[in-house]
């Protein structure tokens, strides 16, 4: 795992390194047992933990292999069981044997399964979380150009996209790992393959060979230049497995419940009044959501919205209206009023001018320099020098250019102000039209004009 991070460490900005280790599904986490205080290190001790839960606490988790992120699942339930008893959440079963197989009468066992709506929700949410993590990583891998790795077979170093690397493996060495659009966690996969090759193990049949040339010969002759499809540990590299579609673990119990709920509201028998069966409701094809396909409004940020920094202090406003309110309340500046007579370009200049003044710790009205921010703020508050400054100060062409990078304030400025477009109008010239009329029409033209 550390090795993998080092290879992809070419993308050297710290946030990217954190990203890749967080999204990898095989982190080492310490999980406390649900009822007692024993600690297990996942993923290695997973089986020990589950065995302990069964033997010591008589707790069985249903469909444990299907749970998306077992660590998070256990952590959630550990918190719950701190204050509640098993019986409140689990189904109790009576079996006629002790955990170690000896005969006993009516021993209580607890089954934690998703017939409990809370558990079902939790499992579903974990699945979604895992899927969105995988998709994020997938998107990153599709576009990241900082990938660089030595080829598994020849000695060339491939730089650029991971897709380029996989293409090289296919074109030059006929090794098909998979299509780049379908793979995720590619770095880990490639490291895994590299490890196998270094151990002189064939990727497909997994036999060990004497040395590298023999291994290469074998793989070439037998056509074993691909991954063993039966090995489950490769599943996590293929995006299709994160889907959890109709084969998802919806146990039969849930199915019954859903059925009951549905038949209550929608009767599949003919409507007694009109004697007709509503065709669309019952027999419409599930793919009839074609209009949702081209719907762009699905895509919305659910992360924090981008915030705009105040012109004078470090306050961040969520949107322009809130920011204007803040500036009015704290700095007693009515931005709207102050800029009402200015056209768009002048407002841009004002914003850039103010940003510069604050950066240089100079007062916006009298241009006095201060050594510290607090002194500047005090001065401006006392002298009421909060404002937009004199026109001569900011009406310079250098303030057309944004002073701070990604200044959110410049992207929300109102365009409506500025009554006289004649003042300060800059002549804007359009590009010549690129269209070409066909030769016949040109000959017919009355004037000779250049296109």
């Amino acid at each position: 795992m550390e090795h993998a991070v080092a290879v992809s460490g070419e993308d050297s900005s710290p946030e990217q390194i954190i990203c890749s280790s967080q999204l990898k599904p095989s982190n080492n986490t310490a999980i406390k047992c649900l009822k007692c205080d024993k600690v297990y290190i996942f993923p290695n001790d997973k089986d020990d933990c589950l065995a302990h839960l069964y033997l010591e606490h008589r707790l069985v988790i249903a469909d444990v292999e299907d749970i998306a992120l077992l660590e998070d699942y256990l952590q959630y339930w550990e918190k719950e069981f701190q204050t509640h008893e098993f019986e409140q959440y689990c189904t109790t079963m009576f079996l006629d044997q002790l955990p170690d197989g000896k005969y006993a009468k009516n021993e209580k066992y607890y089954l934690l399964c998703d017939i409990l709506p809370q558990d079902y929700e939790l499992r579903r949410k974990l699945k979604e979380k895992r899927l969105s993590e995988a998709l994020e990583r997938h998107q990153f891998e599709l576009t990241d150009r900082n990938f660089s790795k030595e080829c598994l077979f020849c000695r060339t170093i491939i730089k650029g996209l991971r897709a380029d690397y996989l293409d090289h493996l296919f074109d030059k060495h006929f090794l098909l790992v998979g299509k780049p659009e379908k793979l995720v966690y590619v770095d880990e996969l490639l490291d895994h393959l590299e490890e196998n090759l270094n151990r002189l193990m064939c990727l497909y049949c997994e036999k060990i060979f004497r040395d590298r040339p023999t291994l290469k010969e074998h793989m070439r002759k037998k056509g074993h230049k691909r991954i063993n499809p039966n090995r489950r540990e490769y599943d996590k590299y293929f995006l299709i497995n994160y889907n959890g579609g109709p084969t998802a673990p919806t146990p039969r119990k849930q199915h019954h419940q859903k059925r009951r709920r549905e038949t209550a509201s929608v009767s599949t028998i003919a409507d007694p009044e009109t004697g007709s069966v509503d065709f669309d409701k019952h027999f419409a094809r599930p793919d009839s959501d074609a209009e949702h396909d081209s719907d762009w409004s699905d895509w919305a940020t659910d992360g924090e919205p981008s915030s705009i920094k105040c012109l004078y202090c470090h306050h961040l406003g969520d949107n322009f209206t809130l920011l204007k309110e803040h500036m009015h309340d704290v700095h007693r500046l009515d931005f709207e009023k102050a800029t009402s007579s200015l056209n768009f370009y002048q407002r841009v200049k004002v914003v850039n001018y103010l940003r510069r003044q604050m950066c240089l710790l100079r007062c916006v009205t009298c241009d006095l320099h201060f050594d510290e921010e607090e002194l500047l703020m005090e001065h401006m508050a006392q002298e009421s020098h909060y404002g937009i400054g004199e026109k001569e100060s900011w009406d310079k062409p250098e303030f057309f250019f944004p002073y701070i990078e990604n200044d959110g304030l410049l992207c929300v400025l109102d365009d409506s102000g500025g009554d006289d477009p004649e003042v300060d109008t800059v002549r804007i010239i359009s590009e010549d039209s690129l269209a070409q009329i066909n030769k016949d029409a040109e000959r017919l033209s009355l004037e000779n004009f250049k296109l």
Partner: protein, 267 residues
């Protein structure tokens, strides 16, 4: 290395039977991959415009835009813009639908395509697999490619670098206004429109966005609408009367009336 190629094809049959959740994802890539590279030359046009383009009767994409002919085949765009066109996947998100058997997850891919020099397109496609969604979205993006008109701010030196006039595009509640900027300003906007404006070939531009810009889908579409409007705006230099040309369908009607000879398997 040469032996490996024929040896491969023998295994293709074996793969299908194995199935399994993992096998499907891996097996499908193989055959299609090898064939995909040859397919790109074998375009058989099905529309009149496609036939004209294939035969080289139409010299540039701008001729098609001049007559506002609808483009129904993405290979037409490929033919003219080809390698200059770069696509970028803006977002892949899972959309879920509740069915009786649980939840059905499909993937929706949002793709933007552009040549950084005057053309931009947007596409969205939903599908069960990520790769299919991306491929479908790229095709739809190519079909939606529009020309971008650029202009100068102030002096007409060098190449056009900014939008020719203030244009607004609206989608949903989001409205985006593009405002000309002097050379060297760069693109002053949120990340999503910035990407689109760069791909369109606009170097300098101010933007002003209103509405719920959190809906990035509508934000992107509004920017695209604004960029497309640059050629819709009638500026004084377009006032000159131009003679009515004949549409390519009319000009080449005798070529179109002849049935195309069947494409033989050429070497």
């Amino acid at each position: 290395m040469a032996d490996a190629a024929p040896a491969r094809s023998g295994f293709r049959g074996g793969f299908g039977s194995r199935g399994g959740r993992g096998g499907r994802g891996r097996g499908r890539g193989r055959g299609a991959r090898g064939r995909g590279k040859e397919d790109s030359k074998e375009w058989v046009p099905v529309t009149k415009l496609g036939r004209l383009v294939r035969e080289g009767k139409i010299k540039s994409l701008e001729e098609i835009y001049l007559y506002s002919l609808p483009i129904k085949e993405f290979e037409i765009i490929d033919f003219f813009l080809g390698s200059a066109l770069k696509d970028e996947v803006l977002k892949i998100m899972p959309v879920q639908k509740q069915t009786r058997a649980g939840q059905r997850t499909r993937f929706k891919a949002f793709v933007a395509i552009g040549d950084n020099n005057g053309h931009i397109g947007l596409g969205v496609k939903c599908s069960k697999e990520v790769a299919t969604a991306i491929r479908g979205a790229i095709i739809l993006a190519k079909l939606s490619v529009v020309p971008v008109r650029r202009g100068y701010w102030g002096n007409k030196i060098g190449k056009p670098h900014t939008v020719p006039c203030k244009v607004t595009g609206k989608c949903g509640s989001v409205s985006v206004r593009l405002i000309p900027a002097p050379r060297g300003t760069g693109i002053v906007s949120a990340p999503v429109p910035k990407k689109l404006l760069t791909m369109a070939g606009i170097e300098d531009c101010y933007t002003s966005a209103r509405g719920s810009t959190g809906t990035l889908g509508n934000f992107a579409k509004a920017t695209y609408a604004a960029i497309a409007k640059t050629y819709a705006y009638l500026t004084p230099d377009l006032w000159k009367e131009m003679p009515l040309g004949s549409t390519p369908y009319h000009a080449y009607s005798d070529f179109l009336s002849k049935p195309t000879p069947r494409l033989h398997a050429e070497a």
